[in-house]
């Protein structure tokens, strides 16, 4: 069996906490689609290996450069089914960093009749992504912001 890369600090419990925070904000009414429901119904003790084998999970590939060096979990949101959770791994220890991929960076010509509504969709997606990431940071899920804050705190403490 091929070993799962970059999982030193990534645990099933951490993923489940991240999923729950995400879904509370992405589906505030609780109406999660059937094909995304399995991310919401995970028991607390579900193992990392089990979670990574669920449908809707994209695993890092052995080739493909940095773009492939992350896990993606397609959880969607109320109005946009393509939104994903990204887990990247940074630094020498491969620390996980959670972020939201709005998955909406498409080139839409400015003169297209879809341009204005698509920009509105992107803005709405970005606002939700920001709220989810802020909530993760507050709830102790590692994000880019929490990682930078931690670096600052550690270096200030040394001085």
């Amino acid at each position: 069996m091929t070993p799962i890369p970059f999982t030193n600090s990534l645990t099933g419990a951490l993923l489940i906490r991240a999923f729950r925070t995400y879904q509370a904000l992405a589906y505030p009414k609780g109406d999660i689609p059937a094909n995304r429901r399995h991310f919401a119904d995970l028991p607390d003790d579900r193992s990392l290996t089990d979670i990574l084998s669920l449908s809707g999970v994209e695993s890092p590939k052995t080739t493909g450069g940095p773009a492939a060096s992350c896990y993606r979990f397609r959880l969607g949101c109320e109005w946009y089914p393509h939104m994903k959770i990204l887990v990247n791994f940074v630094g020498p220890q491969g620390e996980p960093i959670f972020s939201v991929d709005t998955h909406d960076q498409l080139p839409v010509p400015a003169d297209s009749p879809d341009a204005a509504p698509f920009r509105a969709l992107q803005a709405r997606n970005l606002e939700l992504a920001t709220r989810i990431q802020d909530a993760w940071t507050q709830n102790g899920i590692p994000t880019q912001v929490s990682q930078l804050k931690q670096y600052l705190e550690e270096h200030r403490a040394k001085r």
Binding site: Q144, V145, L148
Partner: protein
């Protein structure tokens, strides 16, 4: 010694603020903006040593910002690190073609970012190395569209003292790149002035540097031109002759194997 200066351009205010704070902690003077137009204004008015540049900005994207900064200051501009969530090799290539010195993807680790900037600033403080590197970046990218920035940079480079053998070799390679571009350009006459300028400045520079001494060996390995070591009596006129032959319009068929 004055503080190193860094401009952080990121439309995510909190990320920009934290990154700026990190560099303040490392002794830098930092400033922060959130749009491409503000970045351009700050870059031209403040002249930071380095710029950390996000790509997805609300007005002008980071690639275009980078291009405009390089166009305004091709040889002496700031070190530019692109920091972006666009991880594909094609995006990275786009960044370098726009003139970025480094390309780091989000999310990133703070130590990696600090290390990249320290290295970039080190190069900034070593102008010859910095210019050689930019020269090769430019010669590989926008040259066919506009050889003038490369020509100016080459001239700038050879005005820097002292010129080492490896710098001359890099210069030679860049000249050859330019020759190739001229040969392939749809309108090669547009590059004549660039050629003339380069040849003249390089010849003058060699004459003032080496006088009667032997010019260092310059082996480019390029099929177009191979410069062997010769005394000053022969090299500059020969180089000039090469330039002149190209200027005369012979360069569309550049199957020249010149051995000076």
């Amino acid at each position: 010694m004055s503080a190193r200066t860094i401009l952080v351009v990121d439309d995510e205010p909190l990320i920009g603020e934290l990154v700026a704070e990190i560099f303040e902690l490392h002794g830098y003077e930092s400033r922060r903006v959130e749009t491409g137009s503000d970045a351009l204004q700050m870059a031209s008015g403040w002249h930071p040593h380095a710029i950390i540049l996000d790509v997805m900005l609300p007005d002008i994207d980071g690639f275009e910002v980078c291009r405009r900064i390089r166009a305004s200051e091709p040889s002496q501009g700031p070190g530019i690190l692109m920091l972006t969530g666009m991880p594909l090799p094609a995006d990275r290539q786009r960044g370098f073609q726009a003139g970025a010195d480094r390309y780091l993807t989000k999310p990133f680790s703070a130590p990696d970012l600090v290390s990249e900037i320290e290295s970039l600033i080190g190069e900034y403080e070593s102008p010859v190395e910095c210019r050689c590197r930019r020269m090769s970046v430019l010669s590989l990218s926008g040259l066919r569209d506009d050889p003038q920035p490369l020509a100016e940079m080459l001239c700038d480079l050879v005005r820097v003292t002292p010129l080492t053998t490896s710098e001359i070799e890099q210069f030679g390679n860049a000249v050859i790149e330019l020759a190739s571009a001229c040969a392939h350009a749809s309108d090669p006459t547009s590059d004549i002035e660039s050629w003339r300028l380069i040849c003249r400045v390089f010849r003058d520079r060699l004459e003032s540097s080496f006088e009667a001494a032997h010019v260092p060996v310059v082996r480019t390995g390029h099929p177009l031109v191979d410069l062997h070591d010769r005394t000053m009596e022969t090299l500059p006129p020969s180089l000039s002759a090469l330039g002149d032959s190209l200027v005369r319009g012979e360069f569309p068929s550049l199957s020249i194997h010149r051995h000076f």
